[in-house]
């Protein structure tokens, strides 16, 4: 290794934020950084065997996701899927999938650093999301493993419900959000949860503009 270079330091988009909670466990908001994330484009029938072999996951139905202990596979469009895997798992996954799909009409793209994951849980998670999202998040309309690419205020993100109300402490949602929208969304969510006693995080600002 090059002498002048120090040990790599990896920073997530929300490294400057710490997990936040509303009183009485009404709501928890935190970042889960560095999950392996890989976009797979191609027809499901083409992708299915490889994904099955590499991750053990079946292809999800439209607007759903499939998951096991190590991976989650999100449907994004009829020919686009997002595979989430363990931290630092992307090289192996990329290699394995590339090998399995060699020569097929597919695209495999590492987007591990493109998004980060916001985890929102607690009895007030839905109401908090509904301050920004136009989706119908009622348990009748949105269930565990469901997926939606949508807007949260002015931010874009992929919403997936990973935990059930039945489970302790209400539903668990994850939002995959691009690097440059992460701080905005984090702060908007705390802002929307003020009514539940969530302390408010203010967006990073203070850039000098005057000339």
């Amino acid at each position: 290794m090059n002498a002048t270079v120090t040990a790599p330091v990896r920073r997530s988009p929300l490294a400057h934020r710490s997990a936040m909670s509303a009183p009485d466990d009404l709501l928890h908001l935190s970042e889960r950084a560095f999950d392996a994330k890989i976009v797979l484009r191609g027809l499901p029938e083409v992708l299915a065997p490889a994904i099955e072999k590499v991750t053990g996951l079946a292809m999800p139905e439209a607007t759903r996701s499939t998951a096991n202990d190590a991976h989650r596979l999100l449907w994004q469009s009829p020919d686009e899927f997002l595979l989430l895997g363990p931290v630092d798992g992307e090289p192996e996954l990329m290699t394995a999938l590339t090998a399995e799909l060699d020569g097929r009409h597919v695209q495999i793209v590492n987007v591990t650093d493109y998004h980060t994951t916001l985890v929102l849980s607690g009895p007030k998670a839905r109401e908090t999301l509904m301050t920004l999202s136009t989706l119908d998040l009622h348990p009748r309309g949105f269930t565990v493993d469901q997926v939606a690419g949508t807007t949260f205020g002015h931010a874009l993100g992929w919403l997936v419900q990973t935990g059930d109300d039945a489970a302790e402490g209400g539903p668990v949602f994850e939002v995959l959000v691009r690097w440059s929208h992460a701080d905005y969304l984090f702060c908007e969510l705390t802002h929307g949860a003020r009514a539940f006693g969530m302390p408010e995080a203010r967006p990073v600002s203070g850039e000098l503009m005057e000339i």
Partner: protein, 416 residues
């Protein structure tokens, strides 16, 4: 026709206001006219007025499907300015601005022309460059326009927020002092009254159902009140330009979109000029009645419903808070929508068509009101002479074939 004046008001006041003339007649359609103008909005009535006044064509009619001034004329935020970038645009909008001056006197009808000044704000380097380019082009074209830095903006419009910590700080802006606002109904009614006095028939509640042609030439129109023979038909129907043209199987480079506007409750004077901002999506002024008059952006989808979406208004209000946080507690009193037909180059169409005797004036997008007198003036000229004059020529339809567009997106209002 009885002239309007303060003295006449007093005389009538003493007489119980029983002696006023009708502002315009309610004529029955004649079997034929020398020309028929479709559309009783500001542009259409101005066209009729100038045809009668300047070209001696008094045997003409304005056909309006509803009530005059009921379309975009009665729905717009009445911003008057002429600080457009390209020579062709500067020519027509400044022509209009010159006609606005003294129009109230000419029509003997108070159009409440208020030259309170129009500010166009810049919020980033790109906008600064564009606006300075416009100021210079305007100056050399004889259009009044000047550059203000942020502090000068604040001095001219004290209620505006120029602090550096907002998302898109105000870096400066252009000011056209001769710009301002006027009273839309006053303009429509003033032109209608004056045109009527010159013999023009204004046919309200009369809808065009077809345009008659023989051998590729216009011979008349079918209306809900019968057939009218005429060699010249001029469409001035704003959002419905395509609908009229389709009666002759003519396709135009326009799309019709909802454009919304709203007013706040009336308050004592707080905003003394017109403020426009592209980056932050605001255009705002205060009416004489005290209402803040706020224009919103256009909806992306094509629609003839005269109804836009609430989120456009919501974003508009959030934007307003950037520049005018002091307006936060005021209340939106009334919102409405109009139909704007937008050209790809954000410039209008004033043109002959493949069908002889059929003329089109439209595609003004969000910016038509300010041009009303100029538009009517040059369109009348085109109809009378069957040839566009110097000012109208660049706005012929064939520019989309040759590629000689007048791309004014930069100078157009926030909607573009």
């Amino acid at each position: 026709m009885k002239r309007y004046s303060a003295l006449e008001l007093i005389r009538q006041g003493l007489g119980g206001h029983r002696g006023w003339d009708r502002v315009w007649r309610k004529p029955e359609p004649k079997p034929s006219y020398d020309a028929v103008i479709i559309g009783g909005g500001g542009h259409g009535l101005a066209t009729a007025y100038y045809l009668a006044k300047l070209h001696g064509m008094t045997n003409i009619a304005v056909v309006e499907k509803g009530w005059i001034g009921g379309g975009n004329s009665g729905r717009n935020t009445t911003i008057i300015r002429s600080n457009y970038l390209f020579d062709e645009s500067a020519a027509i909008y400044n022509h209009a601005l010159n006609l606005w001056n003294g129009l109230g006197q000419e029509l003997n009808f108070n159009i409440m022309m208020s030259h309170r000044g129009v500010l166009n704000l810049a919020h980033d380097e790109g906008e600064m460059r564009q606006l300075k380019r416009r100021v210079e082009a305007n100056r050399l074209n004889g259009v009044d326009s000047e550059w203000l830095d942020a502090k000068e903006v604040k001095n001219f419009c004290p209620s505006i927020n120029i602090s550096g910590d907002i998302r898109y700080p105000v870096l400066g802006g252009t000011l056209q002092r001769s710009g301002g606002v006027n009273r839309h109904d006053g303009v429509v009614w003033g032109y209608a009254r004056a045109a009527d006095a010159l013999g023009v028939d204004i046919l309200q509640q009369t809808e065009v159902t077809g345009i008659l042609t023989e051998a590729g030439e216009v011979t008349g129109i079918e209306t809900t009140r019968g057939t009218i023979r005429t060699p010249k038909v001029a469409s001035v129907t704003a959002g419905h330009t395509s609908v009229m043209a389709s009666m002759l199987d003519i396709r135009l480079p326009v799309e019709s979109h909802p454009l919304q506007a709203l007013v706040s409750e009336p308050i004592k004077p707080i905003l003394n000029c017109v403020v426009m901002s592209n980056a932050v999506h605001v255009y705002c002024s205060q009416s004489d009645k005290g209402e803040l008059v706020i224009g919103a952006g256009i909806d992306a989808q094509l629609s003839y419903t005269q109804r836009g979406n609430l989120d456009i208004i919501e974003h508009q209000m959030a934007s307003l808070m950037e520049l005018f946080p002091i307006f936060s507690r005021l209340r939106m009193m009334r919102q409405w929508g109009g139909i704007v037909d937008v050209c790809p180059d954000a410039s209008p169409i004033i043109s002959k068509t493949p069908v002889k005797g059929f003329y089109v004036n439209g595609g003004w997008g969000t910016g038509g009101w300010k041009a009303t007198p100029g538009s009517g003036h040059v369109f009348a000229d085109l109809i009378a002479k069957d040839e566009p004059n110097r000012i109208a020529a660049p706005f012929a339809i064939d520019r989309f074939t040759t590629g000689a567009l007048v791309a004014e997106h930069g100078a157009a209002a926030v909607a573009h």
